[in-house]
């Protein structure tokens, strides 16, 4: 054991000696290496532990501007005073650990420049392990540092720009949103976190996607680096945000798209202006020449909806009679597939926002309908509303109304535009409303006419039935009186016979009256013939039918013409007047004269007598039914029949007379075929 211990001790000292030899050898080798550093491009220095430079290669000379051949140089003195503490720290480390890495400091060079250097150094020890010198490789990192600073500075500047930009910015990687700025968050109503969970497709308005699909492809394939489109984005609340979109592709070295930077510009205002002009044009064009109320209203709602970007536009028309606003056209969600309005509502004047506007005639924007008590919920509640009256001649004839699910959706520009539209369409709507009213009135009068015809027919039938029912009893009475006279001839005296005669006369008069009514009601009947009638023949016929006392003469002053008409009715006219004339003759010699004059259009006939005459206060009355002026046997129907027939032929009838001298009846008949 002891021996082995001694052996070990000896072995140990031998090893130590060997080790020392090796160490000296290593130092020697390192010193030899110094020669190599002379030639490397990085600066190389050897300093003593006080910082005095013992050796430096040419690169180091170039870096610091000093040369130790000519002057004494201390590295520590070169360190910038602000970095001194840091330098001290690294020096301690170097001494402690024997090396230091990544020491970055500023140094003053000989020509006064401030340089950033990077030092990796180590201590060189002697055989006894005592620090001998320090060596180090120094790199000039001035440029790199400056670049980093620049980048940092630029980064900050860019951040400021990005976050204060009026443009919304989206950074997209493989369709996924990975960064956003404040502006786009405001535009769409999402937070950064929410947006970063969505894809570009998910926030795009569907209608648009297809429109620039091809361009997106080109962008992907590298055929295009930049794409500008106008598209809609879906906001968090579901409404659409319109923006000009600039898509820029950032590619890697292989040309694959690394990112897409999307710049979103709010063009709502610009879009509105263009849309407004477009719409006014559109509306003007589309309603031109249209007279159908509904068609016009549809065109307007269609255009307005497109312009406002709303999902609910309606046109109401004021029904003056019922004081109700009728929904005549709608667009958006209020339409089903067949262009029919779902749940068409009518609003009483003064009710709801629309009703209030119809009454006040003043357009309104309601920014928050939940705060407006007048708001009526239609199919769904919408948060803002714009309501504009359509006014013509100071009268509200309708209301244009639109609602939107966002609060504060409508602006003054919208209001102005809708007012313009309202003015533009007012006249045409008014005309269309008038037309509709006229058509309704025409329909009503058509119906009335049908009703009237029906009533007339009923009245005629009625006249016939009544007449028949009246005539039959008269016949019965006369039969019975006749039988009494026959069966009791012996007991009836002259006075009785006389009374029976009175009964018979009265009944005869009544029968005539009934016939008169029947004739009168027959005149209007449809089946009247229209043929050429020889009036001379008519007069001859009348002369043969009516009773003409011997002292009365009927004279036709010149040959009467042929006229077109119904022979029976024309005969009635002449017969009734002539019968009257004959009946009212009170002179020893009666003269009834028939004559006529003519002009291009009509004949004017006259029948005069030298009878009792008619006071002028009765001139009108005599033509009215049941008006008999005298107490002479007369039903008072004859002249009313004359008037009715002459009226039927669009002629005129009148009378001139002098009491006790005579009367002349005039009537006209048109020459043309009636």
């Amino acid at each position: 054991m002891e021996k082995s211990f001694a052996e070990l001790k000896e072995l140990n000292s031998e090893l130590k000696a060997l080790n020392s030899n090796l160490e000296n050898l290593l130092i020697e080798k390192e010193i030899q290496l110094l020669g190599l550093y002379e030639d490397i491009s990085d600066a190389y220095m050897v300093i003593d532990l006080n910082g005095n430079v013992l050796k430096m290669n040419s690169a180091a000379k170039a870096l610091f501007g000093y040369s130790i051949e000519n002057e004494k140089l201390n590295l520590i003195e070169l360190i910038h005073k602000d970095d001194f503490d840091l330098g001290l720290y690294y020096y301690m480390e170097l001494v402690d650990k024997g090396f230091c890495k990544n020491f970055k400091t500023r140094v003053n060079t000989k020509n006064g420049d401030l340089k950033w250097i990077h030092i990796n150094g180590s201590i060189i020890y002697n055989k006894r392990g005592e620090p001998l010198v320090a060596q180090g490789i120094i790199r000039d990192i001035t440029e790199t540092i400056l670049n980093i600073e620049l980048i940092e500075e630029q980064k900050t500047q860019l951040g400021i720009i990005v976050n204060n930009s009026n443009l919304g910015i989206l950074l997209i990687q493989s369709g996924q949103i990975i960064r956003t700025n404040y502006t786009i968050q405001c535009f769409l109503g999402y937070t950064e976190e929410e947006l970063c969970r969505l894809t570009l497709r998910e926030i795009s308005h569907e209608e648009d996607l297809d429109c620039y699909q091809d361009q997106l492809k080109e962008l992907e394939l590298g055929q295009l680096d930049n794409l500008v489109v106008e598209k809609g984005y879906k906001k968090k609340n579901g409404s659409i945000f319109w923006a000009k979109t600039n898509v820029n592709a950032a590619r890697n070295l292989l040309g694959e798209i690394k990112y897409e930077v999307i710049l979103v510009e709010d063009i709502a205002l610009q879009r509105e202006k263009t849309l407004m002009i477009d719409m006014i044009n559109d509306v003007a064009k589309s309603i031109l020449g249209k007279m159908d109320l509904h068609e016009i209203a549809w065109e307007i709602t269609r255009s307005i909806t497109k312009y406002l970007g709303s999902d609910d536009s309606v046109i109401y028309i004021v029904n003056k009679e019922t004081e109700i606003l009728e929904q005549i056209a709608a667009y958006g969600e209020k339409l089903n597939g067949d262009e029919n309005i779902i749940n068409r509502i009518n609003i009483p004047l003064g009710t709801g926002i629309v009703g209030a506007i119809a009454k006040s005639g003043i357009a309104e924007i309601i920014n928050d309908t939940s705060k407006d008590k007048r708001y009526l919920v239609d199919n769904i509640r919408r948060s803002s509303e714009i309501s504009v009256p359509i006014i013509t001649d100071g009268e509200v004839i309708g209301v244009i109304d639109s609602e939107h699910i966002d609060k504060n959706f409508y602006n003054k520009e919208h209001l102005r535009t809708l007012e313009n539209i309202a003015r533009l369409v007012a006249m045409q709507l008014k005309n269309a409303i008038n037309l509709r009213e006229r058509e309704r009135a025409e329909q009503t009068s058509k119906e009335l006419l049908v009703e009237l015809e029906k009533r007339n027919k009923e009245l005629n039938d009625y006249a016939h039935i009544v007449s028949h029912d009246l005539k039959s009893p008269l016949r019965s009475i006369l039969a019975l009186t006749s039988w009494i006279k026959q069966d009791h001839a012996q007991v009836i005296d002259e006075n009785g016979i006389e009374n029976f005669k009175h009964i018979e006369d009265k009944i005869e008069k009544m029968d005539n009256l009934i016939d008169g009514i029947l004739n009168y009601s027959n005149i209007g009947e449809k089946h009247i013939s229209n043929e050429s009638v020889d009036l001379s023949a008519i007069i001859d016929k009348i002369k043969s039918i009516i009773y003409i006392p011997p002292h009365v003469e009927i004279v036709v002053k010149k040959k009467l013409p042929f006229v077109y008409g119904d022979p029976t009715r024309l005969q009635q006219v002449f017969q009734n007047i002539i019968t009257n004339a004959v009946n009212y003759v009170d002179k020893p010699f009666g003269l009834v004269e028939v004559d006529f004059t003519e002009n291009d259009e009509y004949y004017e006939f006259s029948i005069s007598d030298n009878g009792i005459g008619i006071s002028n206060k009765y001139y009108k009355k005599i033509f009215e039914i049941f008006q008999s002026v005298s107490d002479v046997e007369s039903t008072g129907i004859g002249l009313s029949i004359v008037k009715k027939i002459v009226d039927l032929y669009n002629g005129k009838v009148w009378v001139e007379s002098e009491v006790n001298v005579g009367t002349t009846f005039f009537f006209t008949l048109k020459k043309s075929n009636i």
Binding site: H464, S472, R475, A479, W483, E504, L518
Partner: protein, 132 residues
């Protein structure tokens, strides 16, 4: 002659009967108060009349309706039907002739005139050969 008189008015029936008897005619008069009753009577084949006299205004089936039924019946359509009416209405007259009446006689106002007219009608049909 066997005469079917369709008349709802009692006095009119009396008038006709008195006229026939006052004229000393030996016609057989069958009375019906309305068209329905008349059709029942006409249903009995061996009792068919030679001529039919009827008023147009009757309750239930009116004159025109009765005539239409009559003229659409093969057997009955050969019986001459003469209308006795107070109505001079052209429309009625036209329709009756279209259906196929044998005559249209107006009832005059005065009984004496009525007798004269019925006498002529009876004389005329008395002279006519009728289908038996």
């Amino acid at each position: 002659m066997k005469i079917l008189l369709i008349e709802d008015d009692a006095i009119e029936i009396m008038k006709f009967q008195r006229t026939i008897s006052s004229l000393g005619l030996k016609h057989e008069i069958i009375e019906a108060r309305n068209g329905e009753e008349a059709l029942k009577l006409l249903g009995v084949k061996n009792k068919l009349p030679d001529i039919i006299l009827l008023d147009l205004n009757m309750p239930k089936i009116n004159g025109i309706e009765f005539l239409t039924i009559l003229k659409n019946n093969e057997v009955l359509s050969v019986i001459p039907a003469i209308v006795l009416s107070t109505s001079r209405n052209n429309r009625d007259i036209l329709e009756c002739y279209k259906i196929g009446i044998a005559g249209y006689v107006l009832k005059p106002l005065k009984y004496e005139d009525y007798v004269l007219r019925i006498e002529k009608v009876m004389l005329y049909w008395g002279e006519n050969e009728l289908y038996k």
